[in-house]
Amino acid sequence: MIGKEEAAMLSLVALLAKGHVLLEDVPGVGKTMLVKTLAKSLDCDFKRIQFTPDLLPSDVTGVSIYNPKSMEFEFRPGPILGNIVLADEINRTSPKTQSALLEGMEETSITVDGNTVPLSDPFFVMATQNPIEYEGTYPLPEAQLDRFLIKMKMGYPTAKQEMEMLSRTSNGHPIEDISAVLTREELVDLQREVLEVYVDRTVNRYIIDLVTGTRTHDGVYLGVSPRGSIALMKAAKAYALIHDRDYVVPDDVQFMAPYVLSHRMILTSEARFEGQTAESIIDSLLSSTSIPVKRNISE
């Protein structure tokens, strides 16, 4: 993935932290390609759901069909039962269908026709959406948004990156050449390792300082929930592990904060009117919250 190192890394963080990613960008910048590449290099079962306005919840979860031969209802699993699920253009479908996916993301199982079907492990959803101001979309409700661990943007590649991209794709797509570097079992192990990454009280304190900052900030109508704090800690742990560390440093928190926190808060209309964004508020919080650099801070 040319020029998408950060996006790839963030996806990996979410994958390791057992979270999900919301990719928000205009079409054609490589959202789908990112997910495909990830799935391919992980030797995982990859499913794709293209959300359309007429998509039904059963198209996501799967449906029980009566089999006249066996005279039984037979469950035909939907795409949500894959390991890595690409939910393309999630905001183009009706809220009912959206929530079918989102509920599956929060629980570890789905219920279809009274049958509880466990989701596969690992289970990783990467949803993409076009920016909200596009027409014909059903914006995801804020409460649903914080089911995603990370929300990120891809952005356009630079001219140089795009040049290279053109030259590489001229003789067939390079995705065909990717082979898996990690088995499913190894991935599960890694996910377990993330849980073991050490977070010191000092760093937790820093996370809490940041999150509390969003709750008291003037430009914020609804601050980050405790679920956000947990998410930030998890993401920082995964990020630390990726960087070959078994403990979290404030740098990890600083790096992850914009991606983890920005979609978990609602700005006041005044702030929005002034041109502030959730990202800019988090930036200002990061540059005003002091880093703990000593041990034994008093609670």
Binding site: T202, Y247, D251, L286, I291, V293, K294, R295
Partner: protein
């Protein structure tokens, strides 16, 4: 290439600025010390600075600078062929002698050669130090500040006019500081000189700020000096003459000097031995008299006629044959440090025995100045024995001498300046009002000073201003002074009363240090040590038919001349007229010692309060200076202490403290960690500056301690080493 040139020019400018600042230190030297020509030193300094700047290897630069030093020393002081055997032996002897002097703490005896040598070495070191300060460490603020303080102090306390020096220092300082902070910013932000094709444009704001602020500072109105007092005080020390201070505009030690045209001001006590006299008693050691009072000091208009005299038969007479005399002999041994090319002699000198054959004696008949010449040039006579006729003046003879002075004496010794204030004359009139003869009048004036609130002091003595009279100032304003004040005032008052008088210079008796049985005299003779501090001035009053009679107006000193009452001629002589100071001496045993104590007591008592406060000031400034130095070097010595402490303590708390101390040191050096900056980011920026990865490695360990809650004891030696390296690098 471009970068090299740019940074070379930058370094050059910085270094030249440093050199010019350093020159500001040298400039006042001609005026405030007895350096005659500072140019030699300037040239050598330039040379050293140049050699330092081109950064030749040490095996070249040391011989180069050493050679320069040798040539200067050779040109100034050593007559021998340079680098010859003799040349080295002269140098060796000089150094040996001076080291001995230093060991015995007799600093003032160091020879000019050695002092110049030391100074040149200092210049050498400074050239190196300033290169380091300015170019390598880029820490010039302290030096600029010191230069400013130096110039202001020199300007305030000496005759040096630092007006332009301040302006120059200010501008140079601004350039140096501006450039260095410029470079520091570039360094910290990792901007290379290459990116600075438009460096000239960048320098414009700096230049305009310097120009603007200098112009504004120069043009803006300034307060008058807030503390004008010390200026005349110290200025006088610099410009004035002590008892016989040379009067050149340098800080003078007490001692015999020749220029008395500007009297006044304080002087420093000095006990350098001048000569040793083996004599029967304390005598005045006369050198010369002066005749013309200018209102500021004394000048000699009667140098001529000069006669060559046979040392065996000296015909110069201060008093007539009518005076009762006693034949006596004295041996004078000049000390090694004295550089007298004149004779010091007692009253009544008649012949010199054991006077070197190849010397001539040339006598100025009016002043009594006796030059000793070897060939045609004045030279020092180290040792001689003099026969003299010690006079005893009879009171009645003096009282009855009358006022019938020869016309020549009247012409020469009644001179007074036109600007002499009338109150001086009036005062003289009042003092002598009741007396009817010359001796009593002179005595009245002489004793006037012992009461009436006059005080003896060698410090805090003012120098008269341009429109002030020296005598008038002493009599009516300060009433504080030493022998010059007393004797000059007495001469002036006598003259205003029509009594011919003149001002005499020489030495007082000195301190009796030994008693010796010599072949010069039948009795035991005393050995007197005469030091620079014994330099003295007194008064000679002319009595017709008698000659010149010494008087001693200075408070605390006694007249070394003998006076007696002829019982046969005048039986009812009132004992009260006997010289007052002799009375207590007789009662208190050893007269010689008493007098010396008395005089030093008088000097000490008057000076003690001033000295106390001076010491207080010196102590205070020393403490303040020490505090400032400690403050500015606090990171250095604290680090030295902490390094030792941390080496022995191996717990996490110590590590934490050590790390935070490092942060503090870095902060002090301009690397401030913002509170929201993570340690990693900070370490990265520090490492970028020092082009290493020590800080990152140390930070990594520290992170493990605080964020991983991990003990680092196994890593301790490595961590300590990293920490020490970093601290040292930061402080270098």
């Amino acid at each position: 290439m471009m970068e090299d040139r740019q940074s070379f020019i930058y370094k050059l400018i910085l270094y030249i600025t440093g050199f010019l600042l350093f020159c500001e230190w040298m400039r006042p030297m001609e005026q405030i010390s007895d350096t005659d020509d500072v140019r030699v030193f300037l040239i050598y300094a330039t040379f050293c600075f140049f050699v330092s700047f081109i950064q030749v290897p040490w095996y070249l630069s040391i011989p180069l600078k050493g050679l320069g030093l040798a040539f200067i020393i050779d040109g100034l002081y050593i007559a021998e062929r340079i680098f010859s055997r003799d040349w080295f032996s002269v140098l060796y002897e000089q150094i040996l002698f001076n080291i001995q002097m230093i060991q015995s703490q007799e600093w003032w005896q160091m020879t000019p050669l050695f002092r110049s040598l030391l100074f040149l070495i200092l210049l050498w070191l400074m050239s190196y130090l300033l290169y380091y300060w300015f170019v390598v460490a880029r820490r010039m603020f302290f030096f600029v500040l010191l230069t400013l303080i130096y110039v202001t102090v020199v300007d305030t306390f000496t005759v040096y006019d630092g007006k332009w020096a301040i302006v120059r220092t200010f501008i140079l300082g601004m350039i140096a500081l501006g450039l260095s902070s410029f470079a520091k910013v570039m360094d910290q932000e990792s901007i290379s000189f290459k990116g600075l094709q438009k460096a000239q444009v960048w320098a414009l704001p700096l230049l305009s700020i310097i120009l603007f602020s200098s112009a504004a500072a120069y043009a803006s109105p300034k307060l008058d000096p807030q503390w004008p007092d010390p200026v005349p005080y110290i200025e006088s020390a610099a410009g004035g003459a002590g008892p016989g201070g040379s009067g050149s505009r340098t800080v003078q030690k007490v001692g015999y000097g020749e220029d008395d045209s500007r009297l006044g001001g304080s002087f420093i006590q000095d006990d350098t031995p001048v000569f040793r006299a083996t004599a029967d008693g304390e005598r005045y050691w006369r050198i010369e008299s002066k005749d013309t009072y200018t209102g500021k000091g004394w000048e000699d208009t009667l140098e001529d006629p000069v006669t060559n005299m046979d040392p065996q038969n000296i015909t110069y007479e201060l008093f007539t044959d009518n005076v009762e005399v006693e034949e006596q002999t004295v041996m004078i041994e000049m000390s090694r440090q004295a550089s007298f090319r004149k004779l010091v002699y007692p009253y009544g000198l008649s012949s010199l025995v054991r006077f070197p054959n190849d010397y001539e004696l040339r006598v100025h008949e009016n002043t009594g100045e006796m030059d000793t010449l070897k060939g045609e040039s004045p030279a020092k006579v180290n040792e001689f024995i003099a026969n003299y006729e010690y006079p005893s003046f009879e009171y009645d003879q003096l009282r009855e001498a009358g006022d019938d002075d020869p016309q020549e004496i009247r012409d020469q010794y009644l001179q007074l300046p036109d600007g002499l204030p009338n109150r001086v004359r009036n005062l003289a009139g009042q003092i002598v009002e009741a007396e009817d003869n010359r001796y009593d009048r002179a005595k009245a004036i002489e004793s006037y000073f012992s009461s009436n609130g006059f005080e003896y002091s060698t410090t805090d003595v003012p120098v008269p201003d341009e429109n002030e009279d020296y005598v008038d100032q002493f009599l009516f304003e300060s009433q504080l002074g030493y022998c010059d004040n007393f004797s000059t005032s007495m001469v002036v008052m006598l003259r205003s009363e029509g009594i011919p008088a003149r001002w005499v210079k020489g030495f007082t008796g000195g301190e009796r240090i030994d008693t010796r049985d010599t072949d010069l005299s039948d009795d035991l003779q005393n050995v007197y040590q005469v030091t620079s501090g014994n330099a003295h001035s007194w008064v000679e009053v002319y009595f017709p038919e008698v000659g010149w009679v010494p008087f001693e107006p200075t408070k605390g000193f006694t007249n070394n001349t003998d006076f007696y009452t002829d019982v046969e001629t005048e039986e009812g002589e009132d004992p009260a007229v006997a010289p007052d100071s002799e009375t207590p001496e007789d009662q208190m045993g050893n007269p010689q010692q008493m007098e010396e104590e008395e005089s030093s007591d008088a000097a000490g008592a008057a000076g003690s309060s001033d000295r106390n406060s001076t010491w207080l000031w010196v102590l205070l400034s020393a403490i303040v200076l020490a505090a400032i130095i400690l403050y500015f070097t606090r990171y250095r010595w604290m680090t030295a202490l902490l390094i030792r402490k941390y080496r022995n303590n191996k717990d996490e708390e110590t590590y934490e403290k050590a790390y935070h101390y490092l942060l503090k040191v870095l902060d002090h050096k301009g690397f401030k960690r913002k509170p929201e900056q993570t340690l990693r980011e900070f370490a990265l920026s520090v490492d970028r500056h020092y082009q290493s990865n020590d800080m990152r490695r140390l930070t990594n360990h520290y992170e493990r301690v605080i964020y991983r809650n991990e003990a680092q004891s196994t890593q301790w030696p490595k961590v300590t080493e990293l920490w020490e390296n970093l601290i040292k690098k930061t402080l270098s």
